[in-house]
């Protein structure tokens, strides 16, 4: 318990130190790296042992992403604020995952509040509908959490599910996720791409047994409708981070489908969620590196990066390959594992799921082509990534490659199919 408390407090300590060193972004970055590094070491070495292995795994993943986000942060004017917010949210999320239910909800609410405040503080104008939508979504999440504390039974479960749906995006509550990833500065979106879905998932794990059965079917329907809705949104996008956020939402809708179809938060879906969030996080980081160079992320203006930025192109190509579920990366194997663990031989909704999977990979391919292919623009001075900038992307890529895990029992010749066969013919 003491270890967990220590790991949770450490990021807050780092955030306080960073605030004191505000005027020296480089030192702030080093401090954040130290804090995140120590947290990762503590969690990965097993020095911090929690009762819940899922929570420990998620905490490690979040801490690693914080390290990557700090490492990839460009030393711009916004860097100290972005880093401090990463550390604060790291502390809050670790506390949420380590704590039991009322405490968990309190910290989840704090995280949503922090993000909402940051969105509001960025002086969003009345015309910035996406940011307002995100704030509204986060507000719904906070209210749902608060309301769940005063009611009980299945109503409380439904309210908590609503809060989870704002974090792990489910139609029509995806605004908080998409808005946060598209509108926040620096590498904060890189970090939030992992934190928000992980927290949402952790909430679902304990919640599913209490959710009323009719709501499960609604969840499946919302997941599939939401995926198609986001597919429409993503297909017309020209802003890089917004497009990544939309495609990630499509991929996360498959997690909701699996939860609905199986009626539980199966470990396979958790693994899938982790790998997808990591891939999205790295893509957002790549976007941050571009934004630091060119000041914009308009896909119609940025193109033809393959030739002038070969290192960037190779890494982004590999990351997109991972995200679209090609072997030998974790998204592929975890998606396979998730599909193998589906509830019946081939549920009818699985056809739609495969269609969604196809659409997502086509959208990612379109993104790759728009970004990397074509003639480079003559009025842009291109500069490839430096080795320091490459490092965080390579790190995530390695993590994604290490995520090639498929449950062993699938390949035991003696394994028996545990399925309900509709009818058996005569030999």
């Amino acid at each position: 318990m003491h270890d967990t408390l220590m790991v949770t407090i450490l990021p807050f300590l780092g955030a306080t130190i960073s605030l004191l060193l505000w005027s020296r972004p480089r030192v702030v970055k080093v401090a954040a790296l130290l804090v995140a590094g120590v947290t990762v070491t503590g969690l990965a070495s097993g020095a911090v042992t929690g009762s819940d292995p899922t929570a420990t795994a998620l905490m490690t993943l979040i801490a690693v992403t914080a390290f990557v986000a700090a490492l990839g942060q460009q030393l711009t004017r916004q860097a100290p604020l972005a880093i401090v917010l990463v550390l604060i949210i790291l502390g809050l999320s670790l506390a949420a995952l380590a704590g039991s239910q009322p405490v968990e909800h309190m910290f989840m609410g704090c995280i949503m509040g922090t993000i909402a405040l940051r969105l509001l503080w960025r002086a969003i104008g009345p015309a910035d509908a996406l940011a307002w939508g995100a704030v509204a979504g986060l507000g719904v999440g906070i209210l749902a959490l608060a309301a769940s504390a005063v009611v009980s039974g299945s109503i409380a479960a439904v309210l908590q599910l609503v809060a989870c749906a704002t974090l792990l995006p489910l139609f029509p509550l995806q605004a908080a996720f998409v808005g946060s990833l598209s509108k926040l500065p620096g590498t904060l979106p890189t970090f939030l791409a992992v934190v928000l879905p992980c927290l949402g998932w952790h909430g679902i794990v304990s919640l599913m047994s209490q959710v009323p059965a009719p709501l499960i079917h609604t969840v499946i329907a919302l997941a599939l409708v939401g995926a198609l809705y986001e597919a429409v949104r993503a297909s017309v996008q020209f802003h890089l981070t917004r497009m990544i956020a939309s495609i990630t939402t499509i991929l996360f809708s498959l997690v909701w489908w699996h939860v609905g179809a199986t009626g539980k938060a199966a470990p396979e879906a958790g693994w899938y969620l982790s790998t997808v969030s990591l891939a999205a996080s790295a893509l957002l980081l790549a976007g941050h590196q571009l934004e630091a160079r060119y000041g914009f992320l308009d896909l119609d203006k940025l193109r033809g990066l393959a030739r002038p930025m070969p290192r960037f192109a190779t890494l982004v190509g590999l990351l997109l390959m991972a995200a679209m579920g090609l072997p030998l990366f974790g998204v592929f194997s975890t998606f396979m594992a998730m599909m193998f663990a589906s509830p019946s031989p081939m549920p009818q909704s699985a056809v739609i799921v495969l269609l969604i999977w196809l659409i997502a990979s086509l959208l990612l391919m379109r993104l790759l082509q728009r970004l990397l292919c074509g003639q480079p623009k003559p009025d842009v001075v291109y500069q490839d990534l430096t080795l320091t900038e490459l490092l965080p992307l390579v790190l995530v890529l390695c993590l994604l490659a290490l995520g090639v895990r498929v449950p062993v029992h699938l390949f035991q010749p003696a394994a028996q199919a545990h399925v309900t066969v509709v009818a058996e013919g005569t030999p």
Partner: protein, 568 residues
Amino acid sequence: MSYVILVPLLPLLAAIVIGVAGSVLRERSIRIAAPAVVSAFAGAVAALVLVTLNGPISVQFYEPSTAGLSVLPLGFYIDRLSAVMMVVITGVSTIIYLYSMRYMQQERGYARFHALLALTTFVLLCMVSSANLLMLFIFWQLLSWLLYLLSYHYSHPPTIEGAFKTYAVLRVGDVAFLAGIVLAYRLYGTLDFQPLFARAAEVPRTFSLWPGIGLEISAVTAITLLIFIGAMSKSAQFPMHVWLPASLYAPTPVHALLHAGIINAGGFLINRLAPLYGLAPDTLHVAFVIGGLTAVVAAAIMLTQSDIKTMLGFSTIGQMGYMIMECGLGAFALAIFHLIAHGLFKATVFLNCGNVIHMARQEPRFPPGHVQEKAEALPRFPWATGVVMTLLLPLIILLAAHGVLQVPLRDAQGAVIFLFFAWVTSAQAILSLYRLRAVESWKVAGVMVFTMFLVIGTYLWAAVSFTYFLYPAPGEAARYFEAAAFPPWLFDLFVVTVTVLIIGGWAVVYTNARGEHVLIPRWTLGLMPRLYMWFWNRLYVDTVYARLGQALSRLARRVDAALPEWLP
């Protein structure tokens, strides 16, 4: 661990070395790649001998159940089919490397090209020697990705569009394949080949398409149909063929590998899962129809094209249709024989086509303009020889087999299929030979006779020795023919149709040679230009896909504009 793992590992090693040190090696990268591929070829030949003498080789890198982590089940299963495919792949790669040595010199991406080619060879080798369906699928998908990387230039707009088309079509196939795998695992609990085949054969199961409505389908049929869509995409079957002509701008050696190696993946897949397909007659019939349609459509389109690479591309599509059709008839070994022959032939043709294009760019008198051939007096001797060899001799053989030898041809569709393929091939060759005008007629007649015996001899060898070589289990090949058997009336209809086509072909050749058109009704002459336009425009399939894409894009824009911005 067997030495055969060196066969795929050598190209991989070469790819890694060139990939890492390509900027240093540049022109010298061929010195790494070529020896690796040639050694792999030697290893593949040795593996084929070994497998033929001692039976299948199974290589497991680790015991999945004892491995500390849950990892992908990697391993090799090399039987005769795998070994034959390994020899073909490494053989074609060797030819391509030797050719590329000078052909690709001074290209900017020389090292990258060799690295990717070596990697593709590795992926192909791993695919054909996969120990289970999941591993096969992994390399199947990697092949799609490599195809995208190899065939397209990232700063050439038409190529970029073609690349997306390729990826989209192959991805549709991949997703269908994935659905088949998931269904197979969910129903039979394993993805290892032998247990999967055994379990599928043990208990026939049905699978409900929509519970409550009563729409049911045999589980094996559903699985094989889904996997067949994957095969269709890779082997460019109608209407999923559009990606192959889109790869027109790829370097010539890449075309050679694509048309001689990669595109055969569909035929290999069906052969690898032959025991499963042998349990699904409906899927085999679908394969026959799709293959036949592809063969006819692609051949007709090829005749109307003017670009040499496009023509060869549609020729490949047609041959793949032919190969899939053979699979649909249960002649799995014949399909493999066909893909080997086609692979070697098409690789040579494509490599030569590169030289032709170069020559055409440098020599103003090449290619020569269209020369109107004057109708000459009908050479009677070759004509008579052709008629005797393609019409009378087969009839005599048929009567002798049926009457004297008492072969029950009506019950042995497999034998008739081989006979018919031999007949069609030799008739096609003889019809082509008949057009030779500058050669003395006795020589033409002599070549016709030789061709006939060569074709019959080859098909006999393919029917007996090669089929037994690939499927040595007693009765296995016959079982596939039985599974693919059509109702007798339908089979008879096919036989009669093909017979009429061959006789009709002779009649057209005869009348054309005499400058007459009496056998062709007048109304068909009016139809010809229209048909020509349709086939010249590739039946507008590409246009339909493009319009569909544009319509979807427009719809998405309209829907997006109507949606509130605050709900992203």
